[in-house]
Symmetry: none
DNA sequence: GTGGTCTAGACCACA
DNA sequence: GTGGTCTAGACCACG
């Protein structure tokens, strides 16, 4: 049973949820490089979703170089995820900068912004027992 | 000419862009309480967009109590935006906390996170010539 | 009636033939920037092909930034094709270099390679009455 | 260890890659007439590929008269490759002429086309230390 | 067994 | 009207 999850009631397209889910699992290291993906039919059966929808998601994942396909064998997590990691790291920092700038522009005091950030980091640290400085 | 802006090529629906745009303008004080909105037809003409789309956006804005409509007179920004401001302020801080925590969890050093935030604030300050402490 | 052509008996996938066809028409200037594409349903009817197949082709064209889509309006040739042109020019020269190297490696005399090239250019010139030096 | 090479990630079928690889090796004289091919099982083991795939490739090679099979003895490069050489030589020159003409038609200056060709020949020469005039 | 393509037909949101 | 998503079911090539 795979770790890929989907919410049929969400208005974000199923195939996109799958793409995001796999990308996330790969980034978080829950799916390792060169690990085999569930087959199109298997995942379709598990999620009770049409195989075409899975296929579409896998196609998009391949285009984004998050997985690769071997003829007749199946799909696999990409061997090298560094590009993906870098992109993701940039996206995170970009989102953070956006949030901060927008909060500031909406008149939230700098002190409150900074306090929010440091508290968020503290609780994150708490949840994982791992510090990075 | 109104301040409302729309990107036709974006995949987010035009009516939603209008809703977001007006909400943002109201929150940032660029549209004042009880100020009159551009008429549906005027805005449609200005943005080169189907009037039905504007109508839909105004309907949604009214539903969210960001604007109110006076029969035969037009649409107006809500008189009391405090609820909206509070909600929005919370949402901003929530997003900020989320992104900060996620960045931290992905191993980005605290120093880099804090630097990103303070730089974002600095550039925002630069762009608007308005300080809030 | 559009200029897009497809060969149902070819083993190259229909959707890919459409992608190639449109790319080619755009490169050759037969479809101009911001020109509207035939609608998915219209092209499907004209080519006697399932609309889903057209949709897939248009999706790929959009990913390659050869066309863009406006919500509710249709698909259009990209406004700026310079990137496409550059890529294509590089691909042409790369293929040419490959051909020449392979011919040489297979023992074909340099003189014959050069003669083949200059004759090919001469006949191309003949066909189009346009010289470029 | 044979000279036959295969890229498992390529979308061109493995059996076809093998056919192309052997054809190329034969044409370039790296596999001599009547030379014995690696056995199906040996090649399968070396390339880490399903023996059925090798079998299919050998079948196709035999059909194209590039190899012949002796019952119980194995497969061998064809004794007479002149026909193959001629065909291939023509194909190479044809592709070269085509690409040169197409480059010219797309407005690439003749000087650049010729430079590309001569440089490709030079690098090919460099790589193989063998001149043919 | 695997992925990939295609058809037929439906439904939805947007303009 | 437009594009976009999804399902159901079929067929094919590859390994």
């Amino acid at each position: 049973m795979s770790l890929i999850r989907v919410d049929l009631r969400s208005r974000v397209p199923i195939f996109e949820q799958i793409v995001n889910s796999v990308r996330d699992l790969a980034i978080r290291g829950l799916m390792k490089p060169d690990e085999q993906m569930p087959s199109v039919r298997a995942l379709a059966a598990e999620l009770a979703i049409n195989p075409n929808t899975i296929q579409k998601a896998y196609g998009e994942l391949e285009r984004q170089k998050i997985i690769y396909s071997l003829a007749g064998r199946g799909n696999f997590i990409a061997s090298d995820l560094t590009g993906l990691m870098d992109t993701h790291r940039q996206a995170l920092l970009h989102a953070l900068a956006n949030d901060a700038a927008q909060a500031y522009r909406h008149g939230i005091p700098v002190a409150e912004i900074e306090k929010t950030v440091s508290e968020a980091i503290r609780s994150a640290n708490f949840g994982e027992e791992k510090g990075n400085d």
